[in-house]
Symmetry: C2
Subunit: 283 residues, 2 copies
């Protein structure tokens, strides 16, 4: 069955799969200094943001990604006071970070201010914590930001970027990870989205090796469902500077005063053991 | 971007989403006594079976579904000797069941013999245990089979069916569950595929209520990624006749002599606690 013009389709030729969402209206389109940004209204997924033809997020399912990019890392760090988000212009990760009362300062460094301005307009819920006094929004190059950071400045760095092509390419290599390592304090944690466990095992392996070569002591990859991304199954990779990725603040998770829709205590326990498919493929 | 004829697309209008696989060849098409069955070769997902326009399984990702339909139930039952699979004509569930050395007899009751014959031809790996002396393949109506079963005949019943329309409709109601309850022994477990946790919460609730009304003492829904099914996120619902779904044979899972690619001990532990999204939506 062919899809007519009422569908937005993201084709992944090298995956041999495509995912489509039924759209009811194109709300916005612009070419920023960095990329083409489109906003759609969909029939069942709420508002949709597309960058350079790739689906970034939808109202309906972004909670999976944002929770899993944030809470495992923040509950693993013994005391996450200073958090840096690289990318993350939709502010959904920032919002999850700010749910942690231990956090004293959360900086979001997004290269493309237009992503955030459009998110404020079209995804107001994700931006609802931007006025938190602990939040700082910067619109500059995250690679340079990390390179220039004072050593030991951060407890957690979250790399919430697009795919490793275009503006985000420089966020997936050893030089960047070395700067992250320097910018993290003792027991600091780096976490980065690491694509599909079904499609991108080589990328995940390369990322993990680059993190280790950059000085990180341990790395760990966890996976979770993500309907709008290729294969509907996604991953995040954590790296630690001298800490332990195999333990977390269990009581704090059990007692967390905020609600989550996917992440919970049992999930975190399970996520500490790599899925067999990944454990076998990873070096 | 429009997809050309080289893609097989399954549209889910009521979900507002579609999933497509790039196909390189149509290997077979027939209309059996029950349904239209198509077999394709895909570019990246291996062989694909489609029934009445709905993707049933691919080589690449069927392990997720088959493992999660089988191992949580079989490791929860204290001693699963006699197992019945209703549907499951591709034989992938049967193959996982037979990995359990405790199983003395595994009956597969598939209404459409053509599904199994085509699976033997196009998915030989899934059918590789069909010659196991403990396996029995029957091609009759599973609803009648269960109704006629001797009380207490089975330890585990696995309902591995298509969606609740067409031939499988009668597998999703209280009368059928009552017959399953009667056919199960003490601590017996029923497990059924229960669609997408993102799309089908009402169906899951209806199923759980019908199971409870049919006499089951406890029900539990677990979820897992499944790229080729709508939303890429799927679920299975378990029901027990007097047993406990919140414990399992932990040492047996740790010591299991066979390999899995998704299911493991940590996963099972996590799966016993419902995902918050579901826990909130379920009655």
């Amino acid at each position: 069955m062919a899809l007519d013009d009422s569908w937005f389709t993201e084709v992944c030729e090298e995956c041999g799969s495509s995912f489509s969402l039924k759209v009811t209206e194109k709300l916005h389109e612009e070419v920023s200094d960095f990329q083409k940004i489109e906003i759609y209204e969909t029939s069942k997924y709420g508002t949709l943001m597309v960058i350079d033809g790739f689906i970034m997020l939808s109202d309906r399912d972004n909670f999976l990604y944002h929770e899993m990019m944030t809470h495992p890392a923040l509950f693993t760090h013994p005391s996450p006071k200073r958090v840096l988000v690289i990318g993350g212009g939709d502010c959904g990760t920032l919002k999850e970070v700010l749910k942690h009362s231990e956090v004293k300062q959360a900086q979001q460094v997004e290269i493309d201010e237009r992503v955030t301005r459009l998110s404020e307009q079209y995804f107001p819920d994700l931006c609802s914590s931007n006025g938190d006094p602990r939040a700082e929004l910067h619109f500059v190059d995250g690679i340079k930001w990390v390179k220039d950071a004072e050593p030991g400045r951060y407890d957690v760095i979250i790399v919430d970027s697009t795919d490793p092509i275009g503006p985000a390419e420089g966020l997936f290599n050893e030089a960047f990870y070395r700067d992250c390592h320097k910018a993290l304090g003792n027991e600091g944690i780096l976490v980065q989205q690491s694509e599909s466990p079904l499609y991108h095992v080589k990328l995940i392996n390369d990322m993990r090796n680059a993190m280790r070569n950059a000085g990180f002591d341990d790395v760990h990859t966890l996976d979770f469902p993500q309907p709008v991304y290729p294969s509907g199954w996604w991953s995040a990779t954590l790296a630690t500077k001298g800490g332990n990725l195999k333990s977390f603040r269990e009581q704090a998770v059990r007692d967390k005063p905020f609600k989550t829709r996917y992440y919970n205590y049992a999930m975190h326990k399970a996520a500490m053991e790599e899925t067999p498919l990944l454990a076998e493929a990873l070096e």
